[in-house]
């Protein structure tokens, strides 16, 4: 199957990506911001709208495709990466996006998430992390903090959470990033980078659920605090933060990261410099947790690697080159045959 010839049309705008459905998230939900930024980035890509497909699982976040005027599928809980894989392999020319939540993509669908990353199937995965099950009205999730009081943990959650980015890196993610709904401009930048990545682009987006987990990320989103509590990653730039850009991250003699006061405790040259191609550095960054460290946002890792979907088609071509295009009659009549007259 080949793509349709691209019609010559005026450049698309954000509006072209808004569907006719009323958006039904709670007022103030972080999902609105994410939707708006995706709708802002897509027209820039020059991809015809009909070649974009958004696939989601189940959850508040997974309502996403209904609001996008592209092709889309709201599927079943946790399975979007598997469905998207089948689509991308069958139709490599499509631009495939997955919208998922911390419950959808990390709990019920955790298996598919790690395997799509491992295979490096060319798709963008937007993981809306609100550290709660929103749609089912407020149970703790695999990213909820220990002790969190929720509908199903009135005395505090006992589950240790895991970090989505460490999971993504551990599974071999070739593009691993974090952004926050409260910083739309930065989110847009990260989305743009992801859109241009060949392979699985995994973006964890901290998203505020105003109803069931309001303020979960305030410590690093509030204007007053954020210069001290979050670290914006820029490739090739030192890991510096603080209102006065006076704090840096360096490795101590035990090769563990530590925060140091630039000038007073050491000079800038000791500071780690961000390198998106370094797996080790990405790993260190993914371990920076509050309150000891600022929370890094931005692209942790971006490397180029063969994609599964391209591999499938290359192998097919290779076999076709060796064996020739398949002939059905020959196939049916292959092996030992005999004739009865």
């Amino acid at each position: 199957m080949s793509a349709n010839p691209l019609p010559v049309t005026p450049p698309l705008t954000k509006k072209d990506f808004q569907s006719d459905q009323d958006v039904r998230w709670c007022p103030g939900c972080g999902d609105y911001v994410i939707l708006a930024q995706v709708q802002r980035v897509l027209p820039e890509l020059g991809i015809p709208r009909e070649n974009i497909v958004v696939i989601s699982g189940i959850g508040c976040s997974s309502r996403f495709p209904y609001y996008m005027n592209t092709y889309g599928m709201h599927s079943i809980h946790g399975r979007a990466p598997a469905i998207a894989t089948g689509l991308k392999v069958a139709r490599p020319e499509l631009s495939v996006w997955v919208a998922t939540g911390d419950g959808d993509g990390l709990s019920i669908g955790g298996n598919h998430t790690i395997h799509v990353l491992r295979r490096n199937v060319d798709m963008k995965i937007l993981l809306f992390n609100n550290r709660i099950y929103g749609l089912t009205k407020g149970q703790y999730s695999p990213t909820s903090q220990v002790g969190m009081k929720s509908k199903s943990s009135p005395y505090g959650s006992l589950d240790a959470p895991f970090d989505p980015l460490r999971l993504a890196l551990g599974a071999g993610g070739t593009f691993v990033a974090r952004a926050v709904d409260a910083e739309p401009a930065h989110l847009t930048e990260v989305l743009r980078r992801a859109a241009h990545h060949k392979g699985t682009a995994f973006i964890e987006i901290y998203q505020n659920c105003v109803v069931f987990n309001d303020g979960a990320f305030d410590y690093m989103t509030e204007k007053a605090a954020r210069e001290e509590t979050r670290l914006v990653l820029t490739h090739g730039k030192p890991l510096v933060f603080g209102k006065a850009k006076d704090k840096g991250i360096r490795l101590n003699p035990k090769l563990e990261p530590e925060v140091f006061q630039i000038g007073r405790e050491g000079d800038l040259s000791q500071c780690l410099v961000h390198d998106e191609t370094s797996e080790t550095l990405a790993w260190i960054l993914a371990h920076l947790q509050p309150p000891k460290f600022p929370t890094p946002v931005g692209v942790f890792r971006a490397v180029s690697a063969p994609t599964y979907d391209a591999g499938v088609h290359e192998q097919e071509e290779e076999v076709r080159g060796k064996k020739g295009a398949g002939d059905l009659a020959k196939l049916l009549g292959s092996g030992e045959t005999w004739t009865v007259s």
């Binding site: 199957m1 793509a3 349709n4 019609p7 569907s19 459905q21 015809p48 009909e50 070649n51 497909v53 696939i55 189940i58 495709p65 209904y66 005027n69 592209t70 092709y71 889309g72 599928m73 709201h74 599927s75 079943i76 399975r79 598997a82 469905i83 894989t85 089948g86 689509l87 991308k88 392999v89 069958a90 139709r91 020319e93 499509l94 298996n111 598919h112 395997h115 499938v312 192998q315 097919e316 076999v319 076709r320 060796k322 064996k323 020739g324 295009a325 398949g326 059905l328 009659a329 196939l331 049916l332 009549g333 292959s334 092996g335 030992e336 045959t337 005999w338 004739t339 009865v340 007259s341």
Partner: protein, 630 residues
Amino acid sequence: MDATANHPEREHPGKETPREEVETVTIRFCGDSGDGMQLTGTEFTKSTAIAGNDLATFPDYPAEIRAPAGTLPGVSGFQIHFSSRDIYTPGDAPDVLVAMNPAALKTNLPDLVAGGVLIVNKDAFSDVNLQKAGYGQNPLDDESLARKYRFFKVDISGLTERALAGSGLTSKEVALCKNMFALGLMFWMYGRPMEATIAGIRRKFAKKPQIAEANVKVIHAGFNYGETAEMFAHKYEVKPARLPPGRYRNVTGNQATALGLAAAAQKAGVRLFLGSYPITPASDILHELSYLKNYGVTTFQAEDEIAGIGSAIGAAYGGALAVTTTSGPGMALKTEAMGLAIMLELPLVIIDVQRGGPSTGLPTKTEQADLLQAVYGRNSEAPLPVIAASSPADCFGAAYEAFRIAVQYMTPVILLTDGYLGNGSEPWLIPNVEKLRPIEVKYRRDPEGFQPYARDPKTLARPWVIPGTPGLEHRIGGLEKDFTTGSVSYDPQNHERMVRIRAEKVAGIAKGLAPTEVFGKPEGDLLVVGWGGTYGALHQAAEQLQAKGNRVSHLHLRYLNPLPPDVGDILRRFRHVLVAELNLGQLAKILRATYLVDAASYNKIQGKPFKIAEIVNRCREILEPDGARA
């Protein structure tokens, strides 16, 4: 086979062994799972097919890849039934048993017909092996064996070693050749051509010519042993069968399934996508298709069964002919996604190669107990068509038909086969590609008046719209849809309307079915009803009963949901209805509920297919309730 033969060890000094003509023979090769019995059976099958006999095979192997050597659970067997007339089953009981060790003898001897040929590898009857098989004393010393059977003790291991003396092979490599001795001996006994096997071995071991030549040498040694040992009073001839003319090959059910799927995609002119997770006895379909990359076939070995069907749904959404293959436990995992496919109304084929259950059950044995799961096993009102294949070769047509229905009606379709069909084999009349029924794939491209859930008035199918089509961008999903616009709708009346239209669409498939064929008279005393892999046994049982003048007919259902419209009438034209199934009466339950007929059940749940005699006996009990038969 002639059971009145003379004592086997009668001598024919200086004379060529006479060749006796027989119509039908069943041979079972059995030994330890490390003894290569499956290979031996497959090679014998190949040459039997080339000899022109009709045949059916049944491999029976343990769940463990290598259960402890020499033990009873480690026994692996391969049965082949071949004939100069047409046959439908791998045979009720072997006429010839080749037992490579004591454990194999112990587990298989009870099946051997009285007067049958028994060949044992006497070298394997060591104290250790006897003990492992639980024999207190050596059964070969039991005089009654020679009275009951035509009994041959052959020092297969020793003769193999002698044949390979000086070959430079290790003793382990030599031991691995002994199955070829048994094969050579059987080639001699039944006058089979050996060329294909020998050529095959040379191809397989092209990089290890020493091993290839050793195997070939041992086959010849076995053959020559038959010729010169003057031990065997008979060799046999099974004339070629009079099969319909044409070109044939031997296929297993799993091979035929894979070919049927590939053929459907080729005829439709679109990509075939298989999403699957390995599971016995379905994995061979994945293996077969994974070779066909140059046929536009994509195989995706998913991380689990849910991803298997999930990826297939994604591929179907993208316009491919998509299929997922599995067995019972995997079917259970796919359930929720099947519901999604029903809501999305996308074409998809789901193949369940049934095995013994529940849970892990009997993974390598056959059963038909997933029927109710296939027809009903989903949350809510989730109808989908279910069809079943009836023989290994029929898997081709059934797989092809599954896709035809899926595409025509825009629906997931379940195809049921089973371990017995999947692994069993029979000759297959290679179909003419031109004559395969066309499968028409039409993607909607016209934006004019487009509604994603507008239906074809005849089939009630919605249009197949694939991403990449300009102007038709829309969203689908598992939430209920508005009847007209296809947008999400929570309206109560609309929901009922949608539930009903989905059911009506599937029920409407029945209208397009050809009249159901009944084997035998259209009315009578007893109708034997079956579905799936029991076809051969039921057909031959009915044939035998008809030959004796009984008013017995056989109805075999390929379409299980919806049932063909004429089934009710057919059932009512018989005094008795007997539904024979390898489960506790699942089809019987459906037929009783659908037609209010007093259908009786005959059930067997032993991981094994029906024997013809079992069906015949049960029918006789119904036909002659007072035991009037002799």
